[in-house]
Symmetry: C2
Subunit: 740 residues, 2 copies
């Protein structure tokens, strides 16, 4: 049943995992440095693992409840029985990707610091290869899970056949996307709250009140801060991008199956289903080539380093463009030239968003420099200007995504804009193209927190200014590449969100089929005798547009409009809840650090030892307590909307959440990034430098920006997709309920 | 042609204007106090008038360009020739309402301060009656302009007749709404930038750096700050609410004409057109009764004062409910009970939003008190918590608006949810109901800035603590009632936005008619011989849903999706531009105030006189320069979207802008209000009181909140509607262009 060409996919995934194992072992062989360095790294590792254990416990409970719910739904024939299991594997692999990435990062930080004692280049090598472990684990596990389910479901006996069978396979696989999304949301929200509570708490008392530098061992929240980098920026990001990666491939596969369902062409349908998987598989191989291309000589300057990273990512991107044309031609899919061009469109949109992000958030450009200058009139103008900057910065990403939508849709539909199913498939293919080089972009992204932690380790272990300067240089390098990575993550979320919307309609079709519906009514007309007769269409022949007509999903339907308002509100409400969560958890941390400074004698002179463990515990408890409500809300909102407002309401909710959420996410990420770098720009000696009033004002901006860019902003990306995934899995319930 | 019952409308509007004149004269008879008080008031008055003159000059240029454009469009038969003139009168009356309100306010402030020297109650009376001038001028001019055009167009000779004629009348009248919106946007943006640049500048240097109190005569920006209250909070608000008021009535009238067009029932169509006007006219009379009901005895406590204001507004609301049932019964409109209930729904939604606003922004409740407490950990946590609070506070307003949409739609459509035209008419009627008591709610709203300015006058004239305490009490009273007023403004913007969307479709129909289109194709079917035939419908019989089908305005159309992304982005971009504008203008002000403190000797000891005029000039120039780009952008966006993405793109833009813009507006208004009152709560002696670190932290929050609540937030309300109005007026161009 499974055609031979498909086997490229699992093979590529296994290559990625083997190589990740190789890089991991290479890193482990490096020396971890002095005893003090080992001890500090051990503390961080222990804290991170103990937090992750707690988080998985809570997520486990949520998963157990959902699996029971899906089981009940399967029992009542509202879903197929594979759903609960697929859901579980998605959650498991997403968590595993985060866990392995974090394990690597916590082993790598002291080793990076130790390598940086030798040279900048050695430090880069250790950090980058460790980042590559995460990149390869995410794409490897993602494609492995996809391959496993694809093969399994192909050999499962059902009464379905032909094009229906492939639709069954792809929509069932989407459930595993929901598992990954759920896991990712908890990881991002929980990790984000953890890391920012520790960071904000450490900064507010340590930097601002006590005037001690960042990562100073006298600060009781320092270990918690470093643990936070690992659980938020590494484990959280890993789970997040695992979800993005699988989500885009699965949604596109489902669209491919749908696009050729009505034509009954099983062969072409198969090709459309495996095309996104093949592009991703080839992307893995080309990412690996890119990773090996990252090399510098021993005397490399900062600029050389940046160049060598750029060589790796650019090489991968250029190769994937060429390879896509080849693989789609070889596959023999119809309209292969245009589909390959859609991949190019996706890559370009990602790159433009990345560049725009860099322009608005890097201290090398005017906007952030002006933001630093606004510190001359105090913290209030820093906040006003930062919010202004963030809001204005949404224009370019939105316009590029819009162009990406129109172009990829038009290309795939061969400019027949009424051909919705092929057009949407093109949007999905663009999203897959955007994420195809994730192996290497994630490597350059994930090594940032490793370098950051290496800096923390160097500071606490007293390795001296030179080492700290090198780790700072590595960290700063990571910030630049991370901008591009963020562009890809956020752009792909918007496109994948659209693709998932189409999958929702597909799932509605299946829900109606399950209820025995054979025809849907699309309107009425007058027959030659003057009688009104219904215009109907066979369910399996109905197009997306037909379903829109059937359910009156137009923009004058009050249910659609209501759903849209609720969707836009959900994005804001979710951000507000996570912002408040960080505020509350940070306040606890501040109280604790103040208490320790007050009660533990000699802590500031370095004679007394702070109680690090207590701060770790506070962050852990805070994150655990605060992550549950917003996450549950994201799961419940589409279900309740479906029960009250029906299918039109759900579609409104998803679109409203997608459009407002995407813009809000860009705003928060860019405002946060700009505040961070505006502070760095002052610290580089501008406008009075460290310790000046301008610096203090920009520190306020940076602190506000922390939850913007690391908690609420990135969680929104997942929220957008999770709401769609929940809607898809619950479609059977919505359909049945509306007919009751 | 015009039925007798209609004449109630102009009569009510003339009563309102006569009464406004009476209150104005009563206020003018009061004494303006000491020579110093007169001098200060004169400065403020002069500054305000000179700014308004400058603003009208720039707006005049924009209007001239637009009138030429409309003239050209009329010449090429893309619009009817009445459009340019209607556009001009809308702009003129909107500006006039703001101008008269401001004139009154600048005369009233010193008189209020002087009256407050006698007693709190005398102060309330002068301030409230002066606020009532503005309330009555806005509703009076609004209905007068509407009456004028309604009568004129009824007697105009056209080749139209029957139901078409009424559609022609109502859609032409909508153009005057666009004039009012354009004027209002400039007034809000320009005035908002002016007032906040002065306010932020005065606070940052005066309060924070020099440590002198608010409104201190030693602060060079004090006069500019007081001028700002008048041009932003009075003239801006007047133009804004004039636009809201007329917009909701005109959009509903247009919907009424459309709802009965296809049935050919001219009589019922007439009733549906005048119903919103009649409700508004009766609302004027009942507002006047409410205004006279505001009375207290000489020894009234603060609570008594609040109660007496509440008596006035509650009385008006209760009476309007009763009167609506009466007037709609008397009018004999079909389904009158349900339509009256829709008015009740509108009023209730307004009240719920107002209450929610009060809960989230008043220092009497937990959220704002907790926000004050977050100042204990510095300004950064104040900002984080304030943003969190604002975002969470969007939930209740959105849910009430959604319930309002569903209920008013369902009531008017008699629960046949597919009956879009009557359903949308119900939404419009709810918006009219919400704004029907604007005469009194605006009076309670407008007297706030008068009391604020009276406080400024008292401070600068050295009238002593007791008088200042009384003016502060009046100001604080105004803040509470303003919360309700804001709820009505923001809720009605959302509902009116939806009603305008329907008017856009109407205008598309007219555009097609003008091009000679007689039938639109809705799909295809198979005839008994197996041939595919087109399903068509006569243009004048096509419903809203038919137009949605004809233009494929469903949520799978990439043009619609692109429009939605752009719409959501527009809301953020517009806010970002106005935030940046305030930041830049405030920075200039800060530089100037610092320069004066440095260069003018003895300024802080009271021996040297600050150069007030220079600060007034800086704010004026800043506002002028900065208001143009965002305002022009709002006008251009729907035109460009229409040319590129056609009708589906424009509808996407409007809906995306409406849903994201509404939520964003609530967020910004509430965050800003909460920051303001969190600072006041600390100043009342909590968490260390004035001068403490917590106070300094909350002052940062207040400063950030200023442009949130007084510039960007309120401008968004207008943006939402202006984009719809522009789309409506430009519909002819869009239709013709798409067919080229």
């Amino acid at each position: 049943m499974v055609q031979p060409i498909f086997w490229i996919v699992p093979v590529a995934s296994i290559i990625a995992l083997v190589l990740a194992w190789y890089f991991y072992n290479g890193m482990k062989k490096e020396s971890e440095g002095t005893d003090l360095m080992k001890k500090i790294a051990g503390h961080v590792r222990k804290g991170a693992m103990s937090y992750l254990k707690q988080q998985y416990k809570i997520v486990g409970i949520v998963f157990a409840c959902l699996v029971v719910l899906f089981g009940v739904m399967a029992y009542f024939n509202l879903q197929n029985p594979w759903v609960p299991i697929a859901f579980l594997t998605g959650g498991f692999f997403s968590g595993l990707a985060g866990f392995l990435g974090m394990k690597t990062a916590t082993y790598a930080s002291a080793r990076t610091a130790n390598a940086a004692r030798e040279s900048l280049n050695r430090g880069l090598r250790v950090a980058f290869r460790s980042g590559a472990v995460m990149g390869l684990v995410v794409v490897g596990l993602g494609l492995l899970d996809i391959s496993f389910w694809y093969v399994l479901l192909n050999y499962v006996k059902t009464d379905l056949d032909g094009t229906s069978k492939l639709c069954f396979i792809t929509t069932t696989m989407l459930t595993f996307g929901m598992g990954a999304s759920t896991q990712a949301l908890f990881a991002r929200v929980g990790g984000g709250i953890y890391t920012k509570a520790a960071d904000v708490g450490a900064d507010l008392v340590g930097k601002v009140e006590a005037g001690i530098p960042e990562d100073d061992p006298r600060n009781p929240a320092t270990i918690a801060d470093n643990v936070g980098d690992n659980v938020g920026d590494v484990a959280g990001m890993g789970a997040d991008l695992y979800e993005s990666y699988c989500g885009s491939i699965l949604a596109t596969a489902a669209l491919g199956a749908a696009a050729y369902m009505t034509s009954g062409d099983v062969d072409m349908q198969f090709k459309a289903v495996v095309a996104p998987m093949l592009i991703a598989a080839v992307g893995i191989i080309l990412s690996i080539i890119g990773i090996f291309a990252v090399k510098t000589n021993e005397n490399a300057s900062m600029k050389n380093l940046l160049n060598s990273l750029a060589v790796g990512t650019n090489l991968s991107s250029a190769l994937i463009v060429a390879a896509t044309f080849g693989i789609l031609y070889w596959l023999g899919i119809a309209n292969w030239v245009n589909l390959s061009l859609a991949v190019v469109v996706g890559l370009l949109v990602g790159i433009i968003i990345g560049r725009a992000t860099e322009y608005y958030t890097s201290q090398s450009y005017k906007p952030t420099q002006r933001l630093s200058k606004s510190g001359e009139t105090g913290p209030a103008t820093v906040i006003i200007s930062g919010i202004g900057l963030g809001m204005v910065s949404t224009a370019i990403p939105v316009i590029s995504v819009v162009l990406g939508i129109i172009l990829s849709y038009g290309l795939a539909a061969q400019w027949n804009m009424a051909d919705v199913s092929h057009g949407l498939y093109g949007i999905g293919i663009a999203a897959v193209g955007m994420l195809s080089t994730l192996g290497i972009t994630l490597a350059t992204d994930a090594y940032g927190p490793i370098a950051d932690n290496a800096g923390g380790n160097a500071e606490m272990a007293g390795l001296g200014k030179e080492v700290r300067r090198r780790t700072d240089a590595l960290d700063s390098l990571g910030n630049t590449t991370a901008a591009t990575g963020k562009g890809f993550a956020i752009g792909s979320a918007a496109l994948t969100g659209l693709a998932l919307l189409a999958s929702y309609i597909e799932e509605i079709r299946i829900g109606l089929e399950r209820l025995g519906t054979q025809f849907i009514q699309l309107g009425t007309t007058i027959d030659p005798n003057g009688n009104e007769i219904a215009i109907t269409k066979a369910l399996h022949e109905a197009t997306f547009t037909d379903f829109m007509n059937y359910y009156h999903v137009d923009l004058m339907n009050p249910m659609v409009l209501s759903g849209m308002f609720i969707g836009a509100m959900m994005a804001f409400l979710f951000c507000g809840l996570t912002m408040n969560a960080v505020g509350r958890a940070a306040a606890h941390m501040v109280d604790e650090v103040r208490r320790q400074f007050r009660e533990i004698k000699g802590i500031l002179t370095g004679e007394g030892e702070p109680d690090y463990a207590r701060c770790v515990q506070i962050s852990t408890k805070g994150a655990q307590r605060e992550m549950v409500f917003p996450s549950i809300l994201a799961i419940i909102a589409p279900i309740v909307t479906g029960l009250i407002f029906g299918v039109p309401g759900v579609i409104g909710l998803l679109i409203g959440g997608l459009s407002a959420g995407f813009v809000l996410a860009v705003f928060m990420a860019n405002a946060g990034g700009a505040w961070d770098n505006a502070k760095k720009y002052v610290e580089e000696g501008n406008f009075g430098g460290k310790g000046s009033d301008v610096h203090k004002a920009t520190v306020v901006g940076d602190t506000v920006g922390d939850p913007f860019k690391d908690t609420s902003g990135p969680s929104l990306n997942i929220l957008i997709k999770l709401m769609s995934m929940v809607a898809i899995v619950m479609a059977g319930l919505t359909v049945t309920w509306s007919l009751l």
